[in-house]
């Protein structure tokens, strides 16, 4: 899948460095209140499924100098994920 590249001006939990990057879902957590509304005093419903997504470091940082197998694992909410082939 790919992390949506869209801009979001309010509070959200998708780090800028991941936007538009391709990764693989490695774990399905449960669902949690949506921080994008919950942070503003709303109920945060509906809850959003949260996934642990893994990215090869070289996908994120072209200049990455570590091991070839090194990966980043980041929790990303479902509404920030786009399916890819």
């Amino acid at each position: 899948m790919r992390v949506a590249a869209r801009r979001h001006d309010g509070h959200h939990r998708t780090p800028a460095y991941l936007k538009g990057k391709h990764g693989t879902v490695t774990r399905v957590h449960s669902s949690f209140l949506n921080p994008e509304t919950h942070a503003y005093g709303k109920d945060g419903l509906p809850e959003q499924p949260l996934y642990l997504v893994s990215f090869p470091q070289s996908n994120i940082w072209p200049e990455y100098g570590g091991g070839a197998a090194d990966r980043l694992y980041v929790d990303v909410f479902e509404h920030w994920l786009e399916e890819t082939e």
Binding site: R13, L52, D70
Partner: protein, 214 residues
Amino acid sequence: MSSHDEHDHDHPHEALTNSEEPAAAARVRALVDLLVEKGVVGRDDVRQRIDWLVSRSPSDGARLVARAWVDPEFRQRLLADTRAAAFELDLDPGPSPVVVALENTEAVHHMVVCTLCSCYPKALLGPPPDWYKDLPYRSRAVSEPRAVLEEFGVQLDDDVELRVVDSTADIRYLVLPRRPSGTERMTEEELAQLVTRDSMIGVATPVVPPTVRT
């Protein structure tokens, strides 16, 4: 003419805080005052929460790790459901609904960061270290983690897969470090002494003091 112009400027003007109070402390105080005034929290709630936080310590996390080192079945349960495993040892895994333990092996090393703020398994590790909350660690841990590890004194072989876990949301991560060699005769209590806070963040490895090597 305002009074401001009527005195000599032989002294620096103070910032809009009480004496030497740092800006962050002043901001927190103002926030608490406002939340109390609006009835969102009570002063007692804030005090109780701080009391709870400072009463937590990495020795709780260390007990989980030591048990996992001596009991393979417990290790499996810890990796499958860290919260339930904490309850087994009468530990308080905290209000966060999900804690996930990440197992380091010969082939895989985990380290944890929160790039967006400072998410941390406080219930099992106590308050996070200052460097964990500072921008240099939060940015460099994802972009050049091996250099960061070297600064902490950890040299990973090139063929070890380094997994940096960025806890951006509701999950709190705790690293289950590898049991050091030479500890086969140590008791669970002795092993727990080897497990440091930093080793459960993944920026250090447990080391056996020479005096207890068997």
